[in-house]
Symmetry: C2
Subunit: 412 residues, 2 copies
């Protein structure tokens, strides 16, 4: 079988399927990534997968390649995991999907199966993939070859656990497609639950899953703004509201972004001409970086020429993934205001060292909740900064003796 | 001690505190309600509280009265639970609170304590109650007398269990106030958790709790509309998205309203000039009754002169509470379209019997998810109606052999 796209979705899936004993060809256009993988090196930060990658590369169960044609010919099942990013006007960029499907459509798909794992607009399988492959091959999807949507629902960095445990939603065109997808995923774990929906239903299920989380984060951020306005601390209030209460699990406020949660709502929202909860949630989460800048200006006046250390660039704790990271937006905004921004992230290459970032900053912003940051209060305090602005509320005011401490969501 | 307001918040609390052995005077302006309570009869539907009410009335631990002056004079602690409804333009109606506080302010409050349990706008204690009582009595809140916010967070109909189990959030003016509130609530259950916040923090915590739930219901309803638009069934998709998935507990779609959840967001939302998530959630939930009417018209054409049975009037399952019920809005809307509406609710007085409501209706709408409704498919099917529209998705299409079945959130 082959897996197209060796990113944060495709590569962990390739490794886990290879571990189940199937032979997997991983296909990607990025030659340097292919070279790394074939040497057994993870091309991004994911220590828990490193050993498994070494094993499946050594046993030749996983081979990475740039040759899509040969890979498809040698495969019974083709899984498409390529990226579906959004463009600058929130439209879905289908170019990678089209590029792969055009290759797939050139092969003889008779009795093979194509599984779409990339996140997409509801109706993509029915309205784009099916007619495309039918026109290209003359074969009937769901009859002459299998075709299914099986959306990825794993949390980044937990694929090594969740690919085994989280149920698989399968939206096949016809029973044949469902059976093939079921057999494939049962290889990973015979106990894995397989939930069958229609293809468009499976596409919607993926979006609902991510939007649900994203709206919770947005609501926590709205609560943060309310608490600031009323002179209170949202972190403290949310903790009390949740404690032993059977109907609340309000998240803590903080940056909400990344390449999945924010985008997935837009895929639905492009299809309405009205404001939806999703669009307001997006608007709110996307406003948090500017809100941080505005709060800093209330404390410090103009930021022009000010030295500001931003700790954390990735969008997610203990990750090196900077795609659609609110921290990137914060940094660009701060630069726009004329600040000199020093960026440190322990997981992101090409950022400064911690000690360089903490050389006499006037402001330190905690822009990610990496576990490693929790021990840094002393170092930050002795950097000479006047104020620590904690977007995530990972510290308390009492952690600092010299610097003033402010957190997002608190007027205190 | 005395409790002002013997509604769905005040009366269960009065009963539970009386059961703890304290002598409670329940105060209300409604004489017929007072008479009922003093005969040991619940004035609203709450079977689980009936026996306890009988016991505490018989033992004279609970006495209901219309005399506020004497009640306050005889009490060390005064709990205010009167209603804080919103008016037709979503402004909070403080009249009941003002009315009680004006009485309370006439008494000598020295060494007494006043506890505000009514839901209110954040800052109500600090900006209204404190200056009002200080001006009326000349006594210092938190020093000369105790004053605290202790918001109700019980789900209606579960007070007999949750008043013992759910932590109490206490927002006192000063330590004295907190200690008095703590001692009172520990009487109910010594193991009950007491969580201390500032008064405005406690007011916010109550709103966050209810808004969190309300937004979840709104999002489920947004998902329902999306699913309809894409030709799918939201109930089925939500079930799959939630199943064994560690990050989803998306509610089922349905009417979301009532006197608490919808209102509480407005209390915050009146204080912003922009659309918030709360305001969009409100807009969406409030649009569901009209959406049901529009969907019915797609199926049936004009509803003018049509006989429509609406089963369920209360806003909540197994309750007789019709305040701010979306079903009431649905019925008014259907009448506006010229339909003849037959309303049955097993718990709501002055509604029709089931058999009268099911006399040859053309449409039956399931507008509440009362447990008792789940066995009605056969009766509804044989009523001769052409279509069953199920707002809550409590039935399946296969439950009906004669009538067509449609549910909110499904295009099928």
């Amino acid at each position: 079988m082959s897996i197209f796209g060796l990113g944060r979705v495709g590569l962990p899936l390739a490794i886990v399927i290879a571990r189940s004993g199937l032979r997997v060809i991983g296909v990607d256009v990025d030659e340097s990534k292919i070279a790394k993988i074939n040497k057994g090196e993870m091309p991004f930060y994911y220590p828990a997968m490193q050993e498994w990658l070494g094993e499946v590369v050594a046993s030749r169960k996983l081979v990475a390649s740039t040759h899509s044609k040969e890979s498809i010919e040698q495969s019974d099942v083709i899984i498409v995991t390529v990226g579906t990013p959004t463009g600058s006007r929130c439209e879905l960029d289908y170019s990678q999907i089209h590029s792969v499907l055009n290759e797939v459509g050139k092969a003889n798909l008779k009795n093979k199966a194509v599984i779409i794992r990339s996140t997409s607009v509801p109706g993509t399988l029915a309205n784009i993939v099916m007619p495309l492959l039918f026109k290209a091959t003359g074969l009937r999807p769901g009859v002459d070859f299998g075709l299914a949507v099986c959306p990825e629902r794993i949390v980044e960095g937990q694929a090594h656990r969740e690919l085994y445990e989280v149920p698989e939603i399968v939206g096949g065109t016809g029973d044949l497609s469902n059976v093939i997808a079921l057999q494939l995923f049962k290889r990973i774990n015979p106990q894995k639950k397989i939930l069958i929906l229609a293809p468009t239903g499976a596409e919607l299920a993926k979006l609902f899953t991510n939007i649900y989380r994203y709206v919770q984060f947005a609501l926590a951020n709205e609560f943060a703004i309310w608490a600031e306005r009323y002179g209170e601390d949202a972190h403290q209030i949310i903790q009390a509201a949740n404690e032993s209460y059977p109907r609340s699990s309000i998240p803590r406020p903080g940056f909400a972004g990344g390449p999945c949660l924010a985008k997935d709502g837009l895929l639905l929202d492009n299809n309405t001409t009205y404001s939806s909860i999703v669009s307001v949630a997006w608007k709110l989460n996307e406003a948090v970086p500017q809100h941080v800048v505005t709060q800093l200006m209330k404390e410090m006046g103009s930021l022009y020429g000010m030295k500001i250390a931003v700790l954390g660039l990735a969008f997610k704790a203990n990750s090196d993934d900077v795609r659609s990271s609110p921290s990137v937006k914060l940094i660009e905004t701060l630069k726009g205001y004329g600040a000199e921004v020093l960026v440190h992230d322990p997981y992101v290459k090409d950022t400064m060292s911690l000690s360089d970032a903490l050389k006499n900053p006037e402001v330190v912003v905690i822009a990610n909740n990496h576990s490693a940051f929790k021990n840094l209060a002393g170092k930050i305090d002795s950097s000479g900064c006047q104020i620590v602005y904690d977007v995530w509320g990972i510290f308390e005011a009492s952690d600092f003796t010299r610097a003033r401490y402010k957190r997002f969501g608190s007027a205190k």
